[in-house]
Symmetry: C2
DNA sequence: GAGTGGTCTAGACCACTGT
DNA sequence: CAGTGGTCTAGACCACTCC
């Protein structure tokens, strides 16, 4: 007989992590349940405590476990997700963002109200923006930064920058004043007041991991991606009239796009 | 004078990681550049090598650094992203998925061809699916699993399950045979052959971190989220005619939704 | 205060890459 | 082969939570 090879030869920390992950996926460990302690697992497996700690860290990076520092590690319990729907193409108006079902369902008592801030600034188009708009570099743009926060948890729910060509909107000075936010009807309405009609919107969706800075800024836990949406708005002539970049934490956000289909 | 408090009191591993991150963000370290070696950084900071290793691990989890095992760690170089566009609501047809610009741009010589597999199976609706479709639990469904792979890198590019109520489509036996994939015109066309017209599609987009299993399955690196899309298709009567769940690796995928806007 | 996880050290050994 | 990062140990100390 040949000596039996170790079946998989996985690192010890992976063995421990996978065992716990399977317990979580099977439901043996339910959301909110405390994991066995590090010392416990260390003794049970006969591995160094650091091995178990590495396993915990891996599970946190995978978004399966939360906790720490004095508290036992727990199976992460999913947060309620706010639905960002393309039906209302007016992010500024999105102070109540729950879907119909959720608004009518249980727990709708505390009608989730998000705190809202807007900051305006006039800037000059850099190369990237100039190209995206199809305008000259250095052209004046109105930059607007929006941020929504859940007052209950004091956690940021969204952050976005949007750019509007200045000459598009200078006809209506009210548009240049952030004190008018939130504008009823959103950007669509704002542009309408200066004779621009948005007829098409393209959303590009990506996801990345937050940096250490982001984690603090958003009050996120490790293992939660950031959803990144670049929205480009076009008017009837195909001209780009607004570009916005928005970030949403993936554990509190669901993006919903409703698309009417062309008939076959 | 009071003794000066340490300005931030960050963990050493965070100090090192943040310093490297800033160098990357500033461009001092460009994509593809090798980071200083662990031993090097350890000596320079006067910290234990394990501290620097923790820093590297953090940067990998943030998707900023790739590498390891014999090779020096390097600043991650962004992959080319395949655009999944809502314009073509026929994932089965999406064998060429590059955007217009990319198809015409440089590097379009090797017209990216994805390998495609489909697996059909008849199943019974569980509680969740029954509710989602608004049909009885235990009703027959056609389950189709699609997978696309980039033959060049042998990496999986997408994976999806879709469900169709069996009684909807049994009128056309060809629909039950996976040998007919990829069906020209996709699900829309397939349903059309049995008199069903899809008029509305709702895409729900979320993002999570891949588990250890996913990492191997997709050949992904740490620090890359998975994009998850649930697509629900409705016919003229508002009935749900198809549900599909698709996963895409966020480093190789961009989702694009084009939405025609209602006039103000 | 007892118990939790988080950080860190010093040092060992290994797997892999390049030459 | 030398040099890289990956895994692991044994043990120390700390920050925090809960009783």
């Amino acid at each position: 007989m040949e000596p039996q090879r170790t079946p998989v030869d996985q690192p010890k920390s992976l063995q421990v992590a996978d065992d716990l992950r399977l317990q979580i996926e099977r439901g043996d460990l339910a959301p909110g349940d405390a994991l066995p302690t590090i010392a416990d697992l260390s003794a049970r497996w006969g591995y160094s405590v650091n091995v178990v700690r590495d396993a915990f860290e891996l599970l946190k990076a995978q978004g399966l476990v939360s906790g720490g520092r004095g508290r036992p590690a727990k199976v992460r319990v999913p947060l309620r997700r706010i639905v960002r729907s393309s039906d209302r193409h007016q992010e500024e108006k999105d102070l109540v963002l729950l879907s119909e079902e959720e608004r009518r369902g249980p727990g709708a008592a505390e009608t989730l109200q998000l705190q809202f801030t807007a900051t305006y600034e006039e800037i000059r188009a850099d190369v990237a923006l100039a190209e995206a708009f199809g305008i000259d570099e250095g052209a004046k743009l109105l930059q607007r930064i929006y941020e929504t926060t859940d007052p209950a948890t004091r956690q940021r729910q969204s952050w976005s920058v949007s750019y509007l060509p200045h000459d598009l909107i200078s006809a209506n000075p009210a548009l240049l004043d952030s004190a008018n936010e939130p504008w009823p009807g959103g950007t669509q309405h704002q542009l309408h007041t200066v004779g621009v009609e948005v007829v098409r919107v393209v959303d590009e969706v990506a996801a990345t991991m937050p940096t250490t800075v982001d984690l603090k800024l958003w009050g996120m836990e490790k293992g939660v991606p950031l959803l990144k949406v670049r929205r480009i708005s076009f008017d009837e002539t195909g001209r780009v009239v607004e570009i916005s970049d928005a970030d949403y934490p993936a554990d509190r956000t669901e993006l919903r796009f409703t698309i009417p289909l062309a008939k076959w």
